[in-house]
Symmetry: C2
Subunit: 224 residues, 2 copies
């Protein structure tokens, strides 16, 4: 009876829907669709996950947390993507210090470890999906290194505002949250935002930033 719903999700994964019928059936029959409320910790240091997660809808934020309580966002996993950290926590020798938190309500498919192994064996397509997920995450994190080590903060902030703004040109986030995106201190983000406001690029209100001049922000984000 739940069959109609169970087969539907696979269509949201471009990479999966082209798999041969046997492999699709394995996924559909043995994977279970789960709903996770916003703000849930999906994985964290010291907590081993037993499932391979495919995110159908919503986003999971993966971030690094420092001893001093500062945070930095490493990447986000959203609809149609796979969350490799849940599985790879098992395999890493060193302990991760990163954590994954649902930013919105998330609907996901949990593939048990055994089925994950089976698919790796019998499906070249599935292998490709898993490896390219890994490769892309490494690439994401390397990009964060590049950003933090070499780019100016005003540039990074402007870019982040553009990335996070919806079509209404509004970023719904506190300055604390924006600072955590970039791995900087709240005061620093605050001062930069004030400067952006002084220049007429944004308008600040409690808990949100309204973009007023996307062009100017874009120029700032891509300067030299």
């Amino acid at each position: 009876m739940a069959d109609a719903k169970d087969t539907a999700w696979i269509e949201s994964f471009p990479a999966l829907k082209d798999l041969p019928e046997t492999e699709r059936r394995l996924l559909v029959e043995r994977g279970s669709v789960i709903d996770i409320p916003a703000g849930t910790t999906v994985f964290a240091p010291g907590v081993a996950a037993e499932n391979f997660l495919l995110v159908i809808d919503g986003t999971v934020r993966v971030q690094q947390v420092s001893a001093g309580g500062r945070e930095i966002v490493l990447y986000r996993v959203s609809g149609g993507e796979t969350c490799i950290m849940t599985t790879s926590c098992l395999m890493a020798e060193e302990a991760y210090t990163a954590e994954g938190i649902t930013e919105t309500d998330v609907r996901a498919v949990a593939i048990p470890k055994t089925v994950f192994e089976e698919l790796l064996v019998l499906s070249p397509g599935f292998r490709r999906i898993v490896f390219s997920a890994y490769a892309n995450r490494i690439s994401d994190v390397m990009h964060v290194v590049e950003d933090v080590a070499f780019e100016r903060l005003d540039k990074r902030l402007a870019q982040r505002l553009l990335d996070r703004a919806g079509s209404d040109d509004i970023v719904r986030a506190t300055q604390q949250e924006l600072a955590a995106e970039l791995g900087t201190a709240r005061e620093v983000a605050s001062r930069l935002l004030k400067e952006f406001e002084r220049r007429g690029w944004v308008a600040l209100t409690r808990g949100q930033v309204a973009l007023r001049d996307r062009d100017a922000l874009h120029r700032a984000a891509t300067a030299e």
Copy 2:
């Protein structure tokens, strides 16, 4: 005739030498031992590699290079480890901006892509090795993010000096190279090193740093 030598290398990989005989034979018969001189670029942005590399001896430095010419070391691959970047360059959708360079003469085993695929299919042990290599590299790079974003430079420099010093307490590297390790500017590294010297922790000569007080450096590296 080359058999004696061919079977020898597998013993330097703790993870591989416990594989079943069939899988070991595949590796030994189809992999080819290659020698790479120091300073060779093993992989770079835009260059796809066709082999899976197992490093027998020597080290490969993987680093990020910025547009402005600044560098930062992400991790090193040394004897008994696998270089996943060579294979995963193929799989990532985004282009990498990292490059791998041999720091010493390197002896490695190149596993052709087809054999790599075969082994992934038939060997759970080999899969575990590959995935744990990926997981550990992600972990390494995340650690770099943490370091760059949250740790003080003097602390990081002290740690790096201790890491890189041989048993003779000497780090053979120019200040430029040390700066590149940490992703900072040469002048900054230079000033910090001078300060370390003033405190009697190190002695500076052209192209090398001699450690004079490991304890003090260790305290600096682990302070709060």
